[in-house]
């Protein structure tokens, strides 16, 4: 039984009478990486602020490393990356990180190494005003790694990062998890978290509608694979009528098939060389899963 460092139980938060979080229970164990997905306004940031002790819950309980959020031990155990943090432009990266290191009580010893780790060694003594958005985000990441936190709460960590920086970001998240940090990543950028997290939790309008591994969620949702059939010679309408698919443009038809009928459908289309020019197959991705769980029961 892994040690649950972040433990949220029946959390409820009201804002001017309306619930923004409703009975949310979610735990993250040491070394686990959990993605918290949801639309803007689904309650992700509110949940993180409660876990930081910046907001107080209206019901339920939250424990960070066994302590009440906002208490001394909880703050020592928690690292936080705010969404789109920009820092004071007049300070250098080294000065900003040194301030935070002093506040964290680690001293300025690890500062140079961390700046190096996030690729800011050359820019360390330049003012943050001259940094790009991605560099500021890296500086934000550097402070997450100060003092080996027990819990890391990352709010939209990939926003503003280029693809290479995203790779680096996930390498850093893996490193944190490997040293035993429980990592919670709030995001609406779905594609990147797909392969890099152990578990996925989805918030919809303040309610937790899914909380499982990607594989289990896929199985539960039973989402279809989409086949896009590129049809020869303007026969798209006819093909759509025959297969029950939907015509996307003059030459293509989309057919959806469940896990059990996929192979059969592929064989069928493959045996029509005179009419089918190409077949593209799209398995259900996180995007579809997310849409499924975020919409489910909405009507």
């Amino acid at each position: 039984m892994p040690h649950e460092v972040l433990k949220i139980d029946g959390l409820t938060k009201l804002r001017s009478g309306r619930p923004v979080l409703r009975d949310v229970s979610l735990s993250v164990a040491a070394g686990e990486r959990v993605a918290l997905l949801g639309h803007n306004g689904a309650g992700k940031s509110t949940l993180i602020k409660i876990a930081l002790g910046l907001l107080s819950p209206d019901g339920g309980s939250v424990r960070v490393a066994g302590a009440v959020p906002g208490s001394g031990p909880a703050r020592l155990a928690t690292a936080f990356l705010p969404e789109a943090v920009s820092f004071h432009g007049a300070l250098t990266g080294r000065e900003q990180l040194s301030l935070l290191a002093r506040l964290a009580g680690t001293g300025t010893g690890p500062v140079a190494g961390l700046l190096e780790r996030v690729g800011l060694a050359d820019a360390a003594d330049r003012r943050i005003r001259t940094y790009s958005k991605g560099m500021r985000q890296r500086l934000g990441l550097a402070q997450v790694m100060l003092g080996k936190p027990a819990v890391a709460l990352l709010d939209e960590p990939t926003s503003g990062l280029d693809p290479i920086s995203r790779q680096d970001l996930y390498a850093i998240i893996d490193e944190l998890a490997a040293q035993g940090t429980a990592v919670l990543i709030a995001s609406h950028a779905l594609t990147e978290v797909e392969a890099r997290t152990d578990r996925i939790a989805i918030l919809r309008q303040g309610e937790l509608v899914a909380n499982d591994t990607l594989r289990n969620l896929s199985r539960r949702a039973g989402l279809p694979t989409r086949l896009r059939i590129v049809v020869r010679g303007g026969l798209a309408d006819q093909m759509a009528a025959e297969t029950g698919g939907t015509r996307v443009n003059g030459a293509s038809v989309d057919v959806e098939c469940g896990p059990d009928t996929k192979m059969e459908a592929l064989r069928r289309f493959a045996s029509m060389p005179d009419r089918v020019e190409d077949i593209e197959m799209t398995p259900p991705g996180l995007e579809d899963l997310y849409r499924h769980f975020a919409q489910e029961g909405k009507q």
Partner: protein, 274 residues
């Protein structure tokens, strides 16, 4: 506790140095103090006071306007700016209490303000003393001016933090700071003046007026300097009001205001949700 306060203060001081605030504040103080000292040196002979004393009297009036202004300009961004940049939520997630963050910023800004005031008044005072002579009384008046100006600045620094924590954005905080300065430094006195004119020597003027006046920290600062030195009182023409109040009234007012404004700033910051 102190290590974290010092860390915040150190960072804030770096910012004040970087964005040239310390330099600008000092430059403004030096220029105005020197200009007033030499422009105000003409009536020296007729009053029998040395030039330094006359200079201190002019600089007292200057400080009523400038010390609160510089203090508010240094402090209005302190909390609202961090909040807008997203750094406030980050700072508050660290093991530093809100009191420690507030105190650290306050101390750095107070030190910068004290530096600007000391250099400005000190240089102008030295120039006046070298060209027009000094006396123990005028030297004491100069030291008192510097000390009380720092206290007055301290009151308005805390006011600035209060507004900064209360306002949602740096722009709103700046606007509120300008309004506050106008009320305390300009409009309050104008209102009092109007009341005295309307009252024309009645009960308000003789009994309440001095107390209403001393209730404003800016006026309390003025009265404190005037009451403590006969020469300054003579050259500013405020002997009447200063004489009708007990000596403790003005210092008490400033000290109370320091407590009130710091309390307000702390209460507003504590309730702030980043």
């Amino acid at each position: 506790m102190t290590a974290r306060v010092l860390a915040v203060a150190r960072s804030e001081m770096t910012i004040l140095l970087r964005n040239r605030w310390l330099f600008l504040a000092t430059l403004i103080m030096v220029l105005f103090a020197l200009a007033l000292t030499f422009a105000g040196s003409a009536p020296t002979g007729s009053l029998g006071a040395d030039r330094l004393l006359v200079s201190v009297a002019s600089m007292t009036t200057l400080s009523v306007y400038l010390a609160p202004l510089l203090a508010l300009m240094m402090s209005f961004d302190a909390i609202a700016g961090d909040s807008e940049r997203g750094t406030l939520a980050l700072l508050l997630s660290y093991p530093a209490g809100r009191g420690e963050i507030l105190l650290g910023k306050y101390l750095a800004q107070l030190a910068a303000l004290a530096f600007a005031l000391t250099v400005g008044f000190g240089l102008a005072g030295a120039a006046a003393g070298l060209t027009g002579g000094t006396s123990p009384e005028s030297l004491a008046a100069l030291l008192r001016l510097i000390g009380t100006s720092i206290l007055l600045g301290g009151v308005f620094l805390a006011f600035g933090h209060f507004l900064s924590a209360l306002a949602g954005s740096p722009a709103a905080a700046a606007g509120a700071a300008a309004a506050l300065w106008l009320v305390f430094v300009v409009l309050y006195d104008l209102g009092l003046l109007g009341a005295v004119v309307l009252d024309s020597g009645g009960v308000f003027t003789t009994t309440f007026f001095p107390w209403v006046m001393v209730a404003n920290p800016a006026d309390a600062f003025r009265l404190w300097n005037v009451a403590a030195s006969e020469g300054v009182a003579m050259t500013t023409g405020m002997t009447g009001v200063a004489g009708s109040l007990p000596a403790w009234a003005a210092p008490l007012s400033i000290v109370l205001w320091l407590g009130i404004t710091f309390g307000l700033a702390w209460a507003a910051f504590r309730r702030l949700e980043p």
